[in-house]
């Protein structure tokens, strides 16, 4: 209890600083006379789309049953085939017994759709997920190659890591798309994923190398002295222990990958960042959209770090 009593002034200071920053920002915004349009944002998450419902054949309207806002229209073709279509009652364009031709509009159906922000978020997520998987395997392989006895493997791994870590990701994405993509005729998604995976893989390799080297030599010796092969030792003894140690930096790398994936928007992949930019061109709600986009990245990365935190505690049982 005493400890808590001692810390309260500092907590108060923390709150005061945060309030100060918020107030300062608020004041600065007031000065530039920006018109906030938060109400424009939700429709870019979800929206109700009016989907046109058309008759798929020549025929006539059988019956129309209205059930509140929706109407069930039974259509009968010339070959007596029946088809039921649901539309909004208000949008109904036909009446019972009316003859129709194929493609005539029966009415509209309202459907909830994912807006550009959600679609962009989805793109960011799967792009990062696939890149992460490739980066993990690439990094694992390269990391082990870095500590290998084979000079060729070690050399290749070192050149790869140095080249990737020594150049900016943005430039790598441009090279992947404009150079490699053109030469090998690759789609922009392949180029984007490839560039991200290669980039993250080099960093993962260094993390893996450090992890493997941090395991005491005695572990390798004990395992080999039991007759286990180098591969078995790596798989059963070294990597499981290394993995536990490198989990924090590894998760940091994958969180970075999610954030870095925003750079693929420059090769016209519609990820969360590019979606944000497109929304701004039609709404001019620059402040709101970028703040929302940032919040969405933050949400994803914090979920991930919580997950890793949970895994770390699970793995700590043998300590």
């Amino acid at each position: 209890m005493k400890a808590r009593d001692k810390t309260w002034p500092w907590k108060l200071l923390l709150v005061a600083i945060l309030l100060g920053v918020a107030a300062g920002t608020w004041g600065a915004i007031k000065k530039i006379d920006y018109k906030w349009r938060w109400y424009r944002v939700p429709e870019y998450f979800f929206y109700l789309a009016d989907d046109v419902q058309k008759i798929p054949f020549d025929g006539k309207v059988g019956s129309i049953v209205k059930d509140g806002a929706t109407a069930r229209v039974t259509l009968i073709s010339e070959t007596s085939e029946e088809r039921v279509i649901k539309v909004e009652s208000e949008s109904l364009k036909v009446s019972e017994g009316e003859d129709l031709f194929e493609g005539d509009i029966v009415g509209f159906e309202k459907n909830l759709r994912l807006g550009p922000l959600m679609v962009g978020l989805w793109t960011t997520l799967w792009l990062s997920a696939i890149s992460s998987v490739f980066a993990l395997f690439l990094g694992l392989f390269t990391g082990i190659a870095r500590v290998s006895k084979n000079i060729t493997l070690r050399g290749l791994a070192m050149i790869y890591v140095e080249c990737i870590r020594g150049t900016p990701l943005l430039v790598q994405i441009f090279i992947a798309y404009f150079f490699l993509g053109t030469v090998f005729n690759l789609s922009r998604n392949v180029c984007g994923i490839g560039a991200l995976a290669l980039f993250a893989g080099a960093y993962v390799a260094e993390i893996v190398r450090a992890g493997v080297q941090s395991i005491p030599k005695g572990q390798m010796e004990a395992s080999r002295s039991l007759g286990m092969t180098a591969f078995q030792t790596m798989r059963d003894i070294i990597l499981p222990q290394a993995f536990k140690k490198i989990l924090p930096p590894l998760s940091g790398q994958f969180i970075s990958l999610i954030k870095d994936s925003s750079l693929v928007s420059v090769i016209a992949i519609t990820d969360l960042t590019k979606s944000g930019r497109e929304i701004i061109t039609s709404t001019f709600a620059t402040f709101e959209v970028w703040l929302v986009v940032a919040a969405m990245y933050l949400l994803v990365t914090s979920v991930l770090s919580q997950l890793v935190y949970y895994m770390e505690r699970r793995l700590a049982v043998s300590d």
Binding site: P216, G218, S223, S225, L226, M228, T229, I237, S318, D319
Partner: protein, 244 residues
């Protein structure tokens, strides 16, 4: 059983060339307990590590059950499965339970089923006196218990010979006894053993033969009675004066 012929191990370091093992020849018969003693840096541990290929040697031959380690065609993993090793620092696998420590190599190398391996492991844990620790992780065990698990882990492979590299040097004094007891029991059961140690009492009591090494060379060989009561070489006399 084990025959070493003129084994030489050269470390080429920054400070020059060190002949860590310098022409060691010896023979160990089945069921024999050989204790290797000598001052630190005398090459005794390095020689021991050569016997199961943890160190490669520069010259000479080590022949285990007819298999020459110097032969490039020798599958070192097969040899190691027959040669148990116990380390100074135990080197248990910290991410695996005691039982898993004992079963892993049985399943991977000896291709035993999990059930057979676990039965073997339980029996060995009973033998070393800690059957109740099977589900614990090594970090929850005392040093003496860890070293006994390490001995059981090596025994689980049914080795033909056991190598001990200063098995009690990292232990608190009160735990040395429990480990030595297990080793004495092994010796009584007829296990072929090569033990590098500073435990002179153990050497005197258990060894069939004592090898005294200094500066990479075998200086004196003899029965414990002969070696401890009446050593011939000056260096052996000096060493004994210091440790006894």
């Amino acid at each position: 059983m084990i025959k070493a012929e003129n084994v030489v191990k050269i470390f080429a370091g920054r400070s020059g060339v060190v002949r860590a093992v310098d022409g060691v020849s010896t023979e160990v018969a089945r069921g024999e307990v050989v204790v290797v003693i000598g001052p630190s840096g005398s090459g005794k541990s390095t020689f021991l590590r050569c016997i199961n290929g943890l160190e490669t040697f520069t010259e000479g031959h080590i022949i285990i059950d007819g298999v020459d380690l110097a032969d490039k065609k020798t599958n070192i993993n097969k040899v190691r499965a027959e040669v148990g090793m116990v380390f100074q620092q135990f080197n248990l696998f910290p991410h695996k339970t005691v039982l898993e420590n004992l079963t892993l190599a049985q399943c991977r190398v000896r291709k035993r089923s999990k059930k057979v391996a676990e039965e073997k492991a339980q029996a060995l844990l009973k033998k070393v006196g800690i059957p109740e620790k099977a589900t614990e992780y090594p970090s929850r065990l005392s040093g003496g218990q860890q070293q006994r698990v390490a001995i059981a882990r090596a025994l689980a492979m049914d080795p033909k010979v056991m190598l001990f590299d200063e098995p009690t040097s990292a232990l608190d004094p009160e735990m040395v006894g429990e480990v030595l007891d297990v080793m004495k029991q092994l010796a009584r059961e007829g296990m072929t053993m090569i033990v590098v140690t500073h435990e002179m009492g153990f050497a005197r009591e258990v060894a069939d033969r004592v090898i005294f090494m200094d500066e990479g060379k075998v200086v004196e060989v003899g029965t414990p009675e002969h070696f401890f009561t009446n050593p011939k070489e000056e260096r052996a006399k000096l060493f004994l004066k210091q440790v006894l």
